[in-house]
Symmetry: D2
Subunit: 361 residues, 4 copies
Amino acid sequence: MDFGSDNVSGVHDAILEALREANTGTAVAYGHDEWTARAVGRLRDVFECDLSAYLVVTGTAANALALAACCPPHGAVVCHHEAHITTDECGAPEMFTGGAKLMGVRGAAGKLTTAGVAGMLATLGRGEHEQRPSVLSLSQATELGTVYTAAEVADLAELARAHRLHVHMDGARFANAVVRLQCTPAEITWKSGVDVLSFGATKNGALGVEAVVFFDPGLTDDFLYRRKRAGHLVSKGRYLGAQMLAYLHDDLWRTNARHANAMADRLAAGLRLVPGVRLPLPVEANEVFAIVPRAVHETLRAEGARYLEWPGEGPGTDGPAADETFIRLLTSFRSTEAEVRAFLAAAATAAGQPVAPASAD
Amino acid sequence: MDFGSDNVSGVHDAILEALREANTGTAVAYGHDEWTARAVGRLRDVFECDLSAYLVVTGTAANALALAACCPPHGAVVCHHEAHITTDECGAPEMFTGGAKLMGVRGAAGKLTTAGVAGMLATLGRGEHEQRPSVLSLSQATELGTVYTAAEVADLAELARAHRLHVHMDGARFANAVVRLQCTPAEITWKSGVDVLSFGATKNGALGVEAVVFFDPGLTDDFLYRRKRAGHLVSKGRYLGAQMLAYLHDDLWRTNARHANAMADRLAAGLRLVPGVRLPLPVEANEVFAIVPRAVHETLRAEGARYLEWPGEGPGTDGPAADETFIRLLTSFRSTEAEVRAFLAAAATAAGQPVAPASAD
Amino acid sequence: MDFGSDNVSGVHDAILEALREANTGTAVAYGHDEWTARAVGRLRDVFECDLSAYLVVTGTAANALALAACCPPHGAVVCHHEAHITTDECGAPEMFTGGAKLMGVRGAAGKLTTAGVAGMLATLGRGEHEQRPSVLSLSQATELGTVYTAAEVADLAELARAHRLHVHMDGARFANAVVRLQCTPAEITWKSGVDVLSFGATKNGALGVEAVVFFDPGLTDDFLYRRKRAGHLVSKGRYLGAQMLAYLHDDLWRTNARHANAMADRLAAGLRLVPGVRLPLPVEANEVFAIVPRAVHETLRAEGARYLEWPGEGPGTDGPAADETFIRLLTSFRSTEAEVRAFLAAAATAAGQPVAPASAD
Amino acid sequence: MDFGSDNVSGVHDAILEALREANTGTAVAYGHDEWTARAVGRLRDVFECDLSAYLVVTGTAANALALAACCPPHGAVVCHHEAHITTDECGAPEMFTGGAKLMGVRGAAGKLTTAGVAGMLATLGRGEHEQRPSVLSLSQATELGTVYTAAEVADLAELARAHRLHVHMDGARFANAVVRLQCTPAEITWKSGVDVLSFGATKNGALGVEAVVFFDPGLTDDFLYRRKRAGHLVSKGRYLGAQMLAYLHDDLWRTNARHANAMADRLAAGLRLVPGVRLPLPVEANEVFAIVPRAVHETLRAEGARYLEWPGEGPGTDGPAADETFIRLLTSFRSTEAEVRAFLAAAATAAGQPVAPASAD
């Protein structure tokens, strides 16, 4: 019953196997290997365009490098005030950009709106006394488990462009959004105005690989230098390439995400039936947010269930009461129906409900 | 015949197997897993002291993070003028320290001397008009394939301490130095005054893991923050821990290094017999530097031999003539005697020598 | 009728005269001159303690250098969300600290409260995933023309210390606060827990000089280096020292501030009598904020009156209506009663009021 | 007898007077004043082109801001290894560029040569493993008191351009070079390929003002932001504009420099006659370098003469012997013939020579 993070799950067997297969002979180091070249080719197929892509090991590196490509040191990144880049990366965007400011905008359910972004931009305009907004960053799926439709991305990107901002998408859970939206990767990225995407694989089954995908060729001039000086040019690059190839092979990335989302849906459906529990946010990816009675929470913890007490604010007007706890449950490609059932049964029991495990299905 | 770099070799089977073994169940993310804890414990055994150690994926990250822990933005790092940190890391030390200067000192065979360092420090002393030397960084083995004896390290560290400099050791090829010197890891590090070591594993058989090892506990306060904001906190940390455990298990790290060094010795012995070839530097690790007739070089390249034309200066007074090329050959845990023989035969043939492969043994 | 900023006023005659007097003979450069030494001595008298002080030319430099002395690159500065350091310095604190985050907290009338600060700190606590709050910065007087009492400063500083934060005070308008509070400089600084103060002189009559005043001797280690590398070590330092000496001589700094405050009081008193105008904020320094009918505003502008349309939000619940404008008027040591009377008369006329200039007195 | 630095001299009376004249009425702050606008206009006249210019207070700021406009964080600045920017600014260029490397090239008499620069560039070329040379920086006059002819500047700039480097000129003593070369300012700057000039005034009679002068309009996009975030946007900008206007008025800048140079020439002529003293460098600006017997040096110091013991190396092959001292004497607009005579007399006496003051004339 470990729903603490999609990071706690290990590596998908197909990806580990790909590492083994790549482990023969010598290969040119520092990303000039064939595996990496083929992985970039596959990303071009998946996104149906002539993109540039660079592999790194962590999502924080992917985001920070992508932002640094778009934002000068005296610039600013406009993002949701609960965006991972501003709350969870210890200032990596600040470090990689050389000191840019992250300007947080509020928005319901973890999502930016054009009204919110426009309102914030309207408070600025005094020239060099302020940092200059240079990028709009969206998380897809968001940190609160919601997704932007293609139309929403397009509207935000249009607004951004009107203010001469580049558009970055933090796609740590991009796969979960794609399968939920039943859209193509292209539709919610370059076709909607996204310039650069952090395309995550680690949370969805890889050992450690993310692609920084540029749809705007004007932004890649310095990328190789920036990656190297950040210590993110891996010497034995073939093992990043091999991971990404396996991740994209046979739609593994979509299959994994579809499974994780389905497990989240089941968790959500079951939790809605537990007395005293409510789900204040839509479940649109592999994240379930719930407000649960504190007693239920404590019983679950005592029984070994793992999940996060969410440190941020509740979703808009519906926050936890004094005797309630706001929790986040994450599912992954490895979460099982049995785990979900066990968790729901434990929650029901804790809430004093006669166990009805079938209700979770 | 690929002697281009120790990076071109793949991963040792035992290390890949360790990844597979670690891939069961969930594990706490971000370095709080058991594998990492055990790896740090093993490093304590290996170094016979109560050190702090942190795992990262690349050597550049290890060096830059280690230096940032010792050197303020207005500080300076004293190092050999051909040190990897100043010639090959695209300014990562500058980025991670926030702008420190790397002050290069010349020294024969890639090695710093106390006279050289003292001479450079003597030119300084005008207070805040200059960046303040804060760290002395040694590469062990050096970029020119030589090693510092424990006494040499101790002398340099004593000089450093007298000037209030911390001592960093870039141990990307630390294993090769240890087995050559037939010393304990402790003897050439903390027992000789080293404060922080970049303990490399990637070049010597790992997929991608390096440990930043602090012997001075006063330097670790900020390390976790610095690693995270540099994007070098890996989410699925167990796979770094597992690599390091396998690397240290059963002396694999020494075994690999011993093999690589032996192959370098054979290469060197054979090359010395090739007409027109000379080795201007001692071979003390897994690197062989040779000055070869340009015609020989061109023939070898045409036959597919891989190695580096060394961009730096030749070793002191003995540089390549106009019709000569200065090359570097690197061996690894995977280099074979057959490869070495084939290379030597090709070199001999190219030099017009009747082939005598036995001479290489 | 120029109330645009206290920066638009020139230099007080006594301070210009001091430059002339200092202009004889040679003087050691780079801050080692006698004028600077004497100015630091005078600051010790004024603050009644053994402080360290360093002179720079701009307030932004003073603030950014002070913050950099307290806050590591992975740290955070907690401040009011309308603080000058976060809205008006184009990221200087981010640049000088090497990438720290400014965490804005809301609070009525431009003032932080312990509840607000504690509430924000309570959302944090996940270790290296977040930037570590390292400094609390207060503006005295605030950007909204209000002041903190000694008790308020002490409460905030106590909270800060309990969380291991240093306390910085942005005293660009410190003099205005001191004379309003009728306190000693010591009472609202080190006696209340302030570690470092940006002691402004430029807005209050100097040509360009600010002192970074450290009450905590543990923070000054690197200051000389940080100032130099930021290009803020002035070569002909005697002219900074001479300005500061003249500023502190014969209580000029208090006299100037007292005058500016008095002019603000008159402006405020007069504006309260103008139909349709209201003052949503207390006037506690040399700043008057008013909500005026847009028509009045336009007439005043047409007649050449200068002041700022305030870009930030209105004060709490009382914001400007659609046909109103939120303006800021600043007075200085050079503002005259005639100017104030002229402005009030113009405002009254614009508002359709029979002129009654006496009411302003 | 203070020849310690041109900084020890005070402010020229005409410049102080200009401050007084500017001190009437209010003026728009932050560089939008009329004085600044007129000063930029005058710089256009002086340089005979449509340049952009920005005023700052210190030479270090001017240099670091100019370099940051030309050099990305992963770039490198090629300069003489004794250039002020690399030896005397405590890493300001590193801070302002965000971590670029200063690559020092040796060259006789403080001057870069095309052979030296080309040789250094030839050692590079391995892509993102190295910082990318982005700027060539020349000091005019150099730190060793020599000057580049227009032809020399043009040759170096042509080489730079062929390698896609911008060209920066550190003109802290630009006036001294111009009057020595008897050329126009345009001839040794934009007509010879210089993109950006730090045009110094402080050392030559101003209180504190330098202009960053861009001849390449493509480099100025971000300048206002960079200056502000470095704390170098002065609020009462009119006093910078007024200084620069006075400096350029009636050729004051050339007159001052001509005087300083003449005093240096006299010093040099006199010193050449002192037994045991030799001048290893040509005197081409207002700096005199001399190798003097240590006993002479000690006597001079005892008599209160001020000058610098030069910390750098001697000029090429002619260095000081063990009983000699290498000293630097600087003259300024305020140095007097009497001071020069007194110094020469003291030197002659110390050297055991019968005094012959007339010989100095």
